[in-house]
Every structure is written in structure tokens, then in C-alpha cells.
């Protein structure tokens, strides 16, 4: 598949860029971050995104979707990342909607996907139980009872958890933490008895939750059994989420890069523009190369998700490893090249650095993806 944009994709990019130019309000982000309590999803912006059709992008037309793919969703995510515009696209459309689409029954799809697309329902995926990304480390148990199942455990880092109407929970019916069989995926409404949340605000203004499940009743038809072994579903949904997040990271990276190169051209010290110093020129040029490589691998990975070929996992891991490293580099160089102003809260570069740091660790950092890439290549 071509790595260049089609005419439709160029138009989508323009319209997403225009939206972000309008909605980009980094001061609102500062206010949001500094308000007491943990804020909910901004429903006003969300409903505008729904109106633009972005929630419908990756879903089949049968469920009310546009039948497009990640090549298109990635364009939107990248532009949102450019302006640090927060939305539940990742939690609700990519993770929650994605799992339903992959592993749900047709009843599940019929009930849930149109509501996701219409923006009426928010959801998230509750998977993580360890500090570092390790999705198979599942201690949360699902026990069979006479009247359905009981779910018990605690999940960390549930994206937009405080706003979610429903969770997909990764739980263990058999085996030990780390095993790739014995896993189940269960739908759990957020208002179920025994569900309790602690909401956290992250350094970049995202909200996540620790979600406790205490003997929560799970009915038989809340289990997602539509797509073979759960570990395979988890791999597939993380490939998607990883690449969608990489697109968002790419947007943030480009903003930092652009603002820093601009600064090198105007800031004067020692009677010269600091961009004329070779010590900075060479670092800027190397950074440029990393950004270009990042752009290319994101395009390839988005297309790989849509083609769903045998190399998708390797490409997705190569993509996230690269974007994690480039995000780290961009945060570091962005601040260092700005000098003192770069470490003030007033300057935007710090907001982008924090956004990159959160995304770097989410769904596995570069070390995680190096080893995942190695394993999937048989070594």
C-alpha cells in the first residue's frame, strides 16, 4: 500500500488540522491540570469530534461506521497530538470498541458499536496490573458460580476510567500470572456492584483510574468469546492501540521539533543566533532524521494494521519502539535547546515533554518492544 496520502486522506488531514487549530488551548490544559479533583472527559469537544465522524472511522458500515481504517484514524490522532487535544478516542474507539469488534458476539456489536460511534457510550480496557506494561501478568480472577461468574482483582492505569460507562476486563479463569492461556475478556458496566474507582490525573493531563473489582457478578453473556484465544485478541488490540498512540506521539514530536527549530533561528546569545552554532546544528539535524524515520514507520504501521498481515506485530513493535525513543529525544532536546525558559511551566515545551513521557511508557516502552520484536522473530 502506498505510503503517500490519497486525496481523501489529505482532505481529512486538513480538516483535522483546522479543528485542532481551533480547539488547541494549552492554557485550558494547564487549568484542567491544576483544578481540584480529577476531571472527566470534555463532552463538548467529544461531541464535536463525533459530529466530524471520527468515532465512525474504523468501524464497518454495518454498525454505522465509515468502513475506513487506521490509515485514516492515525491522521486524526496525529493532528490531535500536535495540539495536545485530549479525547477518549484511544480508550473508547480503539481499545473498547476495538475489542468488541474483534471478540464480541454480533449481539455485543449491535448493542455497543452504534452507541460508541454516536458518542453516547464511553468505555475502556482494564488490563494492567503491574507497574510496567505486561498484559499477560493477570492476577484478577474470574470464577465460575452457579449463577454466572465472579470477578475479583484490581486494574491500574485504566484510561479515562472515571468517565467510562463500561469496562472490558482482562481476567484469569485458569493458570498463573504470565500464562497466555486461561484468560477471559469480560464486559462490566461501571455501575456494577463491587466496582470502585480511584481516579488519577497524570503529568500530561490525561486521566486514568485504578479500578477495583470485588466479587462483581458477571453474567454468561458478558464474556467475549468471539475470536479464539484471548492472548491473540490482546496482541491484536495492543497492536492497534500502540500504532494509534504512536500517531498521536508523532504529532506532539513534530510540534516540539518545529517550535525548537524556530527558537534556534531567533534566540541570540554571544551576539549570534544560537542556531548558527555547530554544536546545536548537528543535534538538530540528527533529531530531524529521527523525526523523519518516525513519520515513515507510523505510516507503514497504520497500513499494516489495515492489511492485518503476518508481520503486523513486528511492524507495530518497531513503530512504538521508534516513537518512544524519538519522543524521549524530543522532550530532552526540546527543553535543553530552549534553555531556562524550557523548564518553566509557562512555556509549552514542557507540556509536550510530559505528553511524550506518558505515551512512551503506555503500551510498552522501547525496551519492551525490542524484546517483543525479538520474540516474534523467533529469537
Amino acid at each position: 500500500m502506498s505510503l503517500l496520502f490519497s486525496e481523501e486522506q489529505s482532505l481529512l488531514k486538513e480538516s483535522a488540522a483546522a479543528f485542532v487549530r481551533n480547539k488547541r488551548d494549552l492554557n485550558a490544559l494547564r487549568v484542567r491540570r491544576s483544578s481540584p479533583g480529577v476531571p472527566q472527559v470534555d463532552r463538548e469537544i467529544w461531541s464535536e469530534m463525533v459530529e466530524l465522524g471520527w468515532t465512525a472511522i474504523p468501524f464497518e458500515e454495518a454498525w454505522g461506521g465509515l468502513g475506513l481504517g487506521f490509515a485514516e484514524l492515525g491522521i486524526v490522532m496525529e493532528e490531535l497530538g500536535r495540539g495536545l487535544v485530549q479525547s477518549p478516542l484511544l480508550s473508547t474507539v480503539v481499545l473498547y470498541g476495538g475489542i468488541i469488534e474483534i471478540a464480541g458476539s454480533s449481539e455485543h456489536k449491535q448493542r455497543i458499536l452504534p452507541e460508541v460511534i454516536a458518542g453516547n457510550s464511553l468505555g475502556s480496557f482494564a488490563y494492567l496490573e503491574s507497574a510496567r506494561h505486561d498484559p499477560l501478568h493477570v492476577e484478577t480472577t474470574l470464577k465460575s458460580q452457579r449463577d454466572g461468574y465472579r470477578l475479583t482483582g484490581c486494574k491500574h492505569f485504566v484510561l479515562d476510567g472515571g468517565s467510562a460507562d463500561e469496562f472490558v476486563v482482562l481476567a484469569r479463569e485458569k493458570g498463573r500470572p504470565g500464562d497466555d492461556d486461561g484468560l477471559r475478556l469480560a464486559l462490566v458496566p461501571a455501575d456494577s456492584e463491587g466496582v470502585e474507582l480511584e481516579n488519577h490525573l497524570l503529568i500530561d493531563g490525561r486521566s486514568v483510574s485504578n479500578v477495583h473489582f470485588r466479587e462483581v457478578v458477571v453474567e454468561d453473556d458478558w464474556l467475549l468469546t468471539g475470536a479464539g484465544p484471548v492472548a491473540g485478541v490482546v496482541d491484536q488490540v495492543f497492536d492497534r492501540a500502540t500504532v494509534a498512540l504512536s500517531s498521536e506521539m508523532l504529532g506532539g514530536i513534530q510540534s516540539v521539533f518545529d517550535m525548537t527549530i524556530e527558537y534556534l533561528k531567533v534566540r541570540e546569545q554571544f551576539g549570534a543566533k544560537i542556531g548558527s552554532f555547530q554544536g546545536l546544528k548537528h543535534r538538530a539535524a540528527r533529531w530531524f532524521c529521527e523525526v523523519e524515520l518516525s513519520k515513515a514507520i507510523v505510516l507503514k504501521a497504520l497500513r499494516a494494521i489495515d492489511e492485518n498481515g503476518p508481520e503486523t506485530l513486528q511492524i507495530a513493535s518497531a513503530c512504538k519502539a521508534r516513537l518512544s525513543d524519538t519522543a524521549l529525544l524530543s522532550g530532552k532536546e526540546g527543553i535543553q535547546m530552549h534553555g531556562g525558559i524550557g523548564v518553566t511551566d509557562e512555556h509549552d515545551v514542557g507540556l509536550f515533554m510530559k505528553h511524550g513521557r506518558v505515551a512512551e511508557m503506555m503500551f510498552g516502552d522501547s525496551r519492551f518492544h525490542q524484546l517483543r520484536f525479538a520474540s516474534s522473530n523467533g529469537y
Partner: protein, 397 residues
Amino acid sequence: MTKEEFRVQVRTWLDDHCPPACRGKGSILPDIIWGGRQFTYAHPDVERWVKALVDKGWTVPSWPAAYGGAGLSAEEVQVLHEEMSAIGTYSPLFSYGMSMLGPALLEYATEEQKRTHLPKIASGEIRWCQGYSEPGAGSDLASLQCSAVRDGDDYIVTGQKIWTSTADKSDWIFCLVRTDTHAPKHEGISFLLIDMASPGVSTRPIELISGASPFCETFFDDVRVPVENRVHEENKGWTVAKALLQHERTMLSASNRRSKVSVPGRGLLEVARDSLRTPEGSLPDDTLRAEIAQVQMDRLCYETLHQKNTEAREAGHGMGPEGSMFKLYLSELNQRTSDLRQRLNGSDSLVWNGDGIDEKEIAITREWLYGKAATILGGTSEVQLNIIAKRVLGLPD
């Protein structure tokens, strides 16, 4: 003719003209045939195949037919490559004449110069080398001193060139010479084509840290060169030189087998499995696994970026100064790969000579050593970084 009609034509022609010995898995075709007067074919089938390609203009398919090409469009060239690789063959003729000088001549030479030199490049009859660097002019190429003084209808060339790859096997050399010693350094340079059989030209090979190498020193001792062998105007040679350097970077950016720039020999993983005694399954050292993965992922990223750029060029966007990025990144990536491979090979790769040691065993070591040149030749990494900073990012002087 539509693309598909052209494809059918190509297929039929290949069927008729490509000897079975030059196709597929057991192909006897060498990776590269550099040509030149010193070259002789080792096998009549290879000679037959190359002659057929030359007659058809398909060794340089995009060049005009009048100069030894076939005048194919970018799309047709693509089809030609697809059809050749479908039967496991290719055009083995490759030279600096084809990749660097030819494109520069097409842009800057006179009609007569084109008709004289291009067909002999296309057919592999004449092998060219590049006379750019001098002992005192490396990264600061424009400070070159090799002089050409006008004497009637000739220039008299005196001086020395260095890093003239394969000069000892070449027939002609394209040279940057100083024709005005008073002008600013970029404005006193001319571009000359010199027959190496001329009296006063001599070459000497250079031994590198890796052993024998293709690099040479070339000396000019009062060499007479007809003025008609000057390309473009006198003192305007830097314009030609810059265009040619871009072609050189494009050549150095192609990460495929034919270009000889990817790291040859046993793969990283193969070496790792041998030295860690792990013929299959997961390697026992997570740090090494991560290092191997990093190099492989970086190559995937690089190839993707290269593909994106190729597609953009085919869609009509020119290759600009970002060509420096490709040269920079690929040479460093290859260096990292050779370095890791030698380290994976462990103490075996520290042996240089001795009992029972054959060339094959020290190939990994030689490759690691030779790889040190990759980030220096064709413009050092630092020069490429300067170009990116200035011409891509627009940073001030």
C-alpha cells in the same frame, strides 16, 4: 503503449533473451559487473545477457536512446525491474559512470560530449573513476589545488587526487581541477574528463585498516587534456560537482543488495546463534536480543523512509538536500550492524592471521574495519549534518 502492454513486451523479450543460466536461484550472474577495458567475461552466457541488455538500452533504461539508453519513463523502468526480478535476474552492469557521471553529463555536457561518452558508459566499455578529494582537500573539497593551466587547445594538469576508488582498474577519470587561483575557492574550479592512458597519469593503491582496498592515489604530472574535455564552463565546475555529489548520495542511500551498501556476509542472528550456541529458540541474553532487534527495527524504519521518498519522487517531488539524511543514516546503521556483528562473534573476530585461518573467517572483521570508511567517504557524517542543518532546516550561518 499502456503499462500492461509494455509489461507483456518486456516479458516476451526477457523470455527470448535472458539465458536460463542468468536467472533464478542457481544464477551465475555476478552481483556487479563494473566493465572497462581490463574486464573480460568469465562465462559466455553472462556476456550474451549483458550484450542483449546493452543493445536494448536497458542497462540505463531511463537515458535517451541516442546515448545508449531506452528513453523509458519512471513507470516503465519500474515495470522492467519488476519483470526482471520476477524471473530472478537483473542488469549486472553498474559503475560510477552510470550512477554519478552519466546523470551529470546529461544535465551539463555538450551534445558532442554526450554522444562521445554516454554510450560507452551504457555498454560498460569504459570504466570511470572519481577524482575529487586531495590530500589537503577532504571535507573542505572546494579548497582543492590540483591545477589545470591553459596551453593552446589543451589544459596542462598537475597535482594529486586521493580516494580515487578503483582508479587502478579504470579507463577514464572525471576530475575537479583549479583553473583560477585568484577567484574565491568555489569559483575557480573546472570539471575535466581525463583519459587515464594519457602520459603523466599514474595510480597507487591505498592499504586501509581492513587490508587491501579499492581506494587509490592518482598523480597527474603535466598531463595534457584537450579543452573539449571540459564539462560546462571554465570556473563553473562546482555546479557540476554539486549535482554529481547529490547523485552520489542517492547511490549511497539505496539499501538493496545490488548497491553493495547493505552489510554483506552472514546475518547478525546467524552469528549470534553460533556464538551463543543456541541453534533455535530464544537467545539466552536479553541485552543482546534487544541490540539485535534494535538494528533490525532501525533497518525496517530506514527502508520504509527510503520507500516513502522513492514514492514521492515517482509522484514528481524531487529529491532535495534530504538526500544527506539517507547517506548519513544508512552509513551509520551499517556501521552499527558491522560493529554488533563483530562483537557477537566474540574472540573469533579478533584473529587476523595464523594457522588454519582462511579469508572467510576474517570477513566479519574486515567488514567491521572497512565500515569505518562509510561515514567518511561521499561526505563525512558531519558534512551531511551541516547540509541538513543549513539546507533542510534553514538554520543560520
